[in-house]
Amino acid sequence: MKETLRVENLRVRLPQAKGLIWVCRDVSFSLFEGEILCCVGESGCGKTSTALALTGLLPEHSRISFDRLVFDGEAARDARACARWRGRGIAHIFQEARAHLDPLFCIGAQLRETLTQTRGLDDQAAQKESRRLLERVGLKDVPDLERFYPHQLSGGMNQRVLIALALACAPRVLIADEPTTGLDRNLRLEIADLIKKLAAENGWAVFWITHDIRLAETIADRALVMYAGRIVEEGGAEAVLKRPLHPYTQALLACRPGRDAADRLPSIPGEVPDFRCLPSGCAFHPRCAQRLQECDREIPKNTVQPNGQGVRCYLRRNT
């Protein structure tokens, strides 16, 4: 499988009232053609900052650095390359579709504008192509629908329009930042199926951010788990989400309510740490039920297990 995007030791600092704070450190992964990589973790663990860094959409005065960032064989010299790749190279779809569509223009006009700007189509060709794309994402009565404004469409329909906009750019990488959060379960599955189908057909490499573990189990080929700005576990989706090795992933998966679950659900004690005052050593150690003496001294290194799973935990260093 062809490697479309390679990220080595991505580091992100965001501006806060008292200066810059680290929100991502040593984040490394690869995205392959036609493959879905799911990034899971609790809110505030750095998932979205990683994604925004890759499309150059972080707030002004943020600092991005990396050892290596290669998109489609082209190595980035600096962080500005990400903004250049955005659109035709790397497309981004977001959680609240309506908030990312222009409320003043009907959806047909927004699609036509994207097509003329990114693919240089004339008005007539853009009109034809926009209708084709809207049909492609499963919308019906397209000639009428393209005259609708975002507020006249449901959440699921707006998300499909956002996917059509991404499709219009013919990207190689799609970053999907919780595109199904807030939708009901059946709609979530429809949107997930649509993206999976489009990824397979168009050879997209998809970086899918979610905190919905069930969804990740359904769609992901590979998975990575983030905690406090670092990747703590990565590998094949089946291995990471069914047989996790890191105590954090194990604790997170145990929180899921099931129909046969016990009366009291296990939960992770404490809260996700604040980036301004991260604990020393492994950031998960204050909440970890299996912590060792050395956990608060030094950050554990990523250890690759015999099955190829990468784990950042002292418990797995000798296996």
Binding site: G155, G182, H211, I213, R264, P266, E271
Partner: protein
Amino acid sequence: MLLTAEHLTKVYRVPGALFWQPTRSLTALKDVSLRIGEGEALGIVGVSGCGKTTLAHLLCRIIRPTSGRLCYGPAIHDPGRDIQLISQNPHDAFDPSLTVGESLEEPLRIHGMARERQARISRALADVRLDTDIGLRRPQSLSGGQRQRAALARALACGPKLLVCDEPTSALDLSIQADILNNLAELREKRGVALIFISHDLDVVSHVSDRICVMGSGIIVEEGKTRDVLAHPRHPVTRALIDGAAQFL
């Protein structure tokens, strides 16, 4: 019986998108009847747009029904105080210009319990495992889980007999969701609070509730004991919900 809803119907008047377009009627809820006993947990499930939130708002008297009525049992003296709502989005649940403590005091003042407010707030915060110091903070400085727990404390401070929870965990992470669900189960056990738990997540509803109502297009299509309905669904809407959920398992 704590609360009985009889033949509730809600029709909204929806103005046209542009000012010259005619207003149309939208029936969000049609002839819905349900009942809940003291200390019971009733789950309400259905896809988005089936009328779950309209039903929650009607039960809490935030909106008035177009027809139908609510009948209260002897345990409910003041419906505004004894029936409390926990809404979906903890970020919108608090006034950003007030501290959490001020927000917690507000319903107590409204319902004439200002004198005992400190004791009630302290007990409610302890019940949801939050420090009393949190009262001094602004809601925007709290995490999503803390904010939802504070919303729960605000509802509990009034000493409700019934909590209507409208998707209280859908915006939260799994670990925080587990915490909130454990909290609700404890409160039911300790305080005997009845719960109406609304969600589109069958697993969450089945974990919390004894009885379940399945909604589709503004009507209740199936009702029964949670275990029976999930094991032997009879209505296509219930089957579709279970099948949708099964694809995730």
